[in-house]
């Protein structure tokens, strides 16, 4: 029976062209999506680029391991991690309680903050509750930004919109004094011709984790505490040595890390 099993295994190993090899210590395989610019995307000549990719490379340098990348469709990305197709997911994955049941997360490596945009000629000076008192603020409903704005700016009129483009249009045509949204969404709009009217005024502070969530982390298989610790140390290290800022500034005009945790 054992021999038959051995033969069956050998045959299936040959048939399936499997890479049967001793697990290599020094190579970390990183899975990413490849369709989420500017964080991670494939270019037309097949290269993986973006903020996530550069951060992952910096972390690998910091941990002194060799890294390879795998571009994997988003729908199968967690099962692929669990099945051992790669060892870590660096794909702008938000840390959520549902996901944390299936995978372990590193600390956040970014948390795009919420920001306030106003027309370029706006008289507004700041983004505190007092600054915005009596003003009309547009926010997309069913977002964390809406929850935050309606709790924080209680002296202002909060106007809900179905999604970001509507609030942006109403800010541009003067119905609103300010809008609150994810800073990356705002920045992409401001960089487009439609957003020429407006500017980012600032980021309200503090931005509590209970409302906005912890941000995007690196996912690894459950129980790989050692890897999580190494990643966390590496994230802290590149934050301190300026490598993070260098990558940040390559992609964004603001600090994408969000509040220090």
């Amino acid at each position: 029976m054992r021999i038959a099993l051995r033969i069956a295994l050998a045959a299936s190993a040959a048939l399936l062209t499997l890479g049967v090899a001793q697990a290599q210590e020094k190579t970390l395989r990183i899975g990413t999506e490849g369709a989420y610019p500017p964080f991670n995307n494939l270019t037309s000549d097949g290269q993986l680029v973006g903020f996530d990719i550069d951060i992952a490379k910096a972390l690998c340098d910091e941990m002194k391991v060799k890294c390879t990348f795998v571009a994997q469709d988003w729908d199968g990305i967690i099962p692929a991690l669990q099945a051992g197709k790669f060892d870590a997911i660096v794909a702008s994955m938000s840390i959520t309680p549902e996901r944390a049941e299936k995978v372990d997360f590193s600390h956040k490596y970014y948390n795009t903050p919420s920001a306030i945009a106003v027309p370029k000629d706006s008289p507004l000076k700041g983004v505190t509750k007092a600054d915005l008192a009596g003003k009309n603020i547009g926010v997309a409903t069913t977002t964390t930004h809406y929850n935050y704005a309606s709790k924080t700016f209680t002296d202002s009129t909060i106007k809900g919109y179905p999604s970001s483009p509507e609030e942006q249009a109403d800010l541009a045509n003067g119905r609103l004094d300010a809008i609150e949204d994810d800073i990356v969404v705002l920045q992409q709009w401001l960089d487009s011709p439609d957003g020429a009217c407006c500017k980012i005024l600032g980021q309200p502070s503090p931005q509590p984790v209970e409302i906005f969530g912890p941000g995007a982390g690196i996912a690894v298989r459950k129980g790989e505490t050692d890897l999580v610790n190494k990643l966390n140390t590496a994230i802290d290290a590149i934050r301190k040595n300026g490598k993070y800022k260098e990558i940040n500034d390559k992609y964004f005009k603001f600090d994408v890390f969000g509040a220090e945790s």
Partner: protein
């Protein structure tokens, strides 16, 4: 993203996405063609089992088609692609702790698509089997042919002709099912078009390209099957 004309986006080479999508098309075609022979052979034998006099064989055949026609294709794919390595690895580590094993996504896709294709094809073969009168078998035995010879020389040529239109259907759905394999990290037509769509923000353009690709493949298939059907018909006339 600087504004690029759609002709740049669709060009061949480092600035355009046509080469990426063309590579995806090759993967789609290769996967469908590689699956076809396995699917046909397995489907034939399952149909054979389902009309066999041995009840255990009939039951096995029926379970097979119930399972693989009943499960959503995507579930089958996930089970095999993600489940198989875990199982194989578990077995392998009984002998060699620390070994890792990986199932190639192309092979996994082929296995799963063969299972699905064959379960549908077996029904087509089954109805074709039933369309062949008993007299054909009896005639074969009467002139001294063995069971195998009767099958090969008398039944099979008629079977293929009857089953052909149904199999053509199965082939077309196989062609489309290949797009599911993108979730297990095989860069076929739809995955590459989807990446291009999201990176360039020209979703409509690139999904239209993908639609066109599948349409062209379907047209080419029907030309090819028409050709095969004509040659089968000619053989019948002879």
């Amino acid at each position: 993203m600087p504004a690029q004309s759609i002709w740049t986006l669709l060009s061949w080479g480092p600035d355009g996405w046509s080469d990426d999508i063309a590579y995806g098309v090759l993967v789609t075609i290769a996967l469908a063609l590689a699956t076809l022979p396995f699917g046909l052979v397995i489907g034939f034998f399952v149909a054979f089992a389902k009309q066999h006099e041995e009840p255990a064989l009939r039951l096995a055949g029926n379970i097979y088609t119930t399972v693989f026609r009943g499960l959503p294709e995507l579930v089958t794919l996930f089970l095999f692609f993600f489940g198989m390595p875990i199982l194989l690895q578990y077995l392998l580590r009984l002998f060699n702790p620390g070994a890792t094993i990986d199932v190639n996504s192309f092979i996994a896709g082929m296995i799963v698509l063969s299972l699905i294709f064959s379960s549908y094809a077996s029904e087509v073969f089954l109805s074709a089997f039933r369309a062949i009168p008993k007299g054909q078998y009896e005639g074969g035995y009467a002139i001294g042919l063995s069971k195998w010879q009767t099958m090969r020389l008398v039944v099979l040529p008629q079977l293929i002709r009857i089953a052909f239109p149904g199999l053509e259907n199965c082939w077309l759905s196989l062609l489309k099912d290949t797009s599911l394999v993108s979730v297990v990290n095989l860069a076929e037509t739809l995955r590459n078009a989807g990446v291009a769509a999201r990176v360039t923000k020209h979703s409509f353009l690139f999904y239209s390209v993908a639609a066109l690709v599948f349409l062209v493949l379907a047209i080419l298939s029907s030309i090819a099957t028409g050709f095969i059907l004509r040659s089968l018909g000619r053989r019948e006339a002879r």
